[in-house]
Amino acid sequence: MLAMIKRNLLLYFRDHSGVFFSLLGALISFVLYLVFLKKNMLASWHQMPDAKLMLDTWLIGGTLAITSITTTLTSLALMVTDKEKHIADDLTLTDAGPLHLFTSYLISAAVIGTLTQLAMFGIMWGGFYLTDGLTLSGTAVLNTLGLMVTSSLLAVVVNAAIVQGIHTVDSLGKLGTIIGTAAGFLVGTYIPIGALPSFAQSMVKFIPGSYVAALYRQFLMDDKLKSAFAGHLATRHTFERLMGIRLNWSTLLTQQETYLIMGLIFSGTVVLVFGLKWLQIQRRRQYLRER
């Protein structure tokens, strides 16, 4: 399995232009946001202290959530390419076993997802440090780094569930475009969830990435929220609900509850994805045994 993970990572990182465009793809929404939407949003926040820094961290959180979704999806493309080019046939002849092969694709995609988020985090923080003097506390950074791993794992299994039904690189590319375009809206990065119609709000709550985005915002914005809303807990809660910092089920979700929901989505999807794979393998085994 290690050999296979090494292969997948080598294939991804040796293709320099691929890495570049993958980063640019994640960065483009961020840049477009700065150019077109930031000023508008700042204007509506003018009475809040530290509005600029607050919006910066809010944007970092949403962008990282999008990054985890899109980069893991692109990395999983290798699984489809290998199937299409009959490389998968060659791999099944080895002693590795289909479940190990499958897992190795998921692990390498998660590694790529984490590293890309790390790079994006560095670029965005660096940019905002230079323009707005953004600083972050050690706890915020540590929590964010931890969430990069969790969010990659979550995005990988969710994407794997989708990719399993796709057999050509061409259709995966088209799906990637759709997901890439939709992701910014679906996890509430471009437009805050509070500004959406109620149907769209419920839709956002169905997307696993929204919970990731919410957690990122909680970690990154906590210090600023504390000082900005000191003594105004009710106002803070309204703000958190409107901006998707905490998602609202019947009440606002706490950090633990958000993690729990992510954990449930993760376990459910893992069971689904590996269950399907296992069934596939059993069918094949049965045939081979009869042989």
Binding site: A3, M4, R7, L11, H86, D89, L93, T94, A96, E290
Partner: protein
């Protein structure tokens, strides 16, 4: 028998790709599946390997064999070096000695381009790397799907020599598909397959004897008189030449001795694999 297939059949929708194929492969033998494009060679091979599930019939191995497969297209990664490609595949197997890739690279003459990216190699070099990949797990049976298609004649010859050497030295059982007739000539067992059916099976000499007629070309100053004296109808006739298609060399000798004064020159060509193949599969293109 190392490998036996009984009534192997594969259909894709209405199309019957392989139709009730029976075959037996002996240990250490060299088998060529010979057939035109679309004859069902690769489908048959994929069922023998276990990559494709037959619609009917079965494949039986006498024990659990180690398989090595050289696929028709490349299955290695273009942007990785030859060494990386082979090392990664070696890592996918259990109990492979650490120096396996180095040993193979020496045996197959890959040392000069081990550090080069697979995608930058020439067709012949790639093929040798593909074969090295198939040999990583020291297989009992080596399958090759059109290993020499698209290569120039020198490279074809080199690859061919390499495969034969491997079969001899390592006691490998080799099964390959090809549409190059001269290649089938060297196999112990030739299976001519077309439209998913086995048309003929045996050694190359057998098949030529049975299906390829010998050809006798006579040059004569008096073609009309010569033609009248030979009972057999010529298959071609020109101003000074007659061409006969004959079942045996003996028949040719009889004609030559009986008409010696009328013959100024002659050419005798024993039936080739091409003749047998065309006789078996017909001349239409696909």
């Amino acid at each position: 028998m190392l490998l036996e297939a009984q009534h192997l059949t594969k259909t894709f929708g209405d199309h019957i790709a392989v139709n009730a194929v029976d075959l037996q492969i002996e240990k250490g033998s060299f088998t060529a599946l010979l057939g035109p494009n679309g004859a069902g060679k690769s489908t048959t091979m994929n069922m023998l390997i276990g990559l494709l599930q037959p619609t009917a019939g079965q494949v039986t191995y006498d024990h659990d064999p180690k398989l090595g497969v050289v696929f028709q297209g490349s299955v290695l990664d273009d942007i990785l070096t030859v060494r990386e490609n082979l090392q990664i595949r070696a890592g996918q197997y259990r109990h492979i000695p650490a120096d396996r890739v180095t040993v193979l690279s020496q045996q197959l003459g890959l040392t000069a381009f081990m550090a080069q990216r697979y995608g930058t190699l020439s067709g012949g070099q790639r093929r040798r790397v593909d074969i090295a990949r198939a040999l990583i797990n020291e297989p009992d049976i080596l399958f090759l799907d059109e290993p020499t298609t698209g290569l120039d004649i020198q490279t074809r010859l080199a690859i061919w020599t390499l495969i034969q050497r491997l079969q001899r030295e390592k006691k490998l059982t080799v099964i390959l598909t090809t549409h190059y007739l001269d290649e089938a000539d060297a196999a112990d067992n030739v299976i001519v397959i077309d439209h998913g059916r086995i048309l003929a099976q045996g050694t190359a000499a057998d098949i030529k004897n049975r299906y390829a007629a010998d050809r006798l070309t006579l040059t004569s100053p008096n073609v009309a008189q010569l033609a009248a004296r030979v009972a057999q109808q010529p298959i071609r006739r020109t101003a000074d030449q007659l061409v006969f298609s004959l079942p045996t060399m003996q028949a040719a000798l009889d004609i030559l001795t009986a008409n010696r004064p009328l013959i100024s020159n002659f050419e005798f060509r024993p039936g080739t694999m091409d003749d047998a193949f065309l006789a078996l599969t017909g001349k239409e293109m696909r």
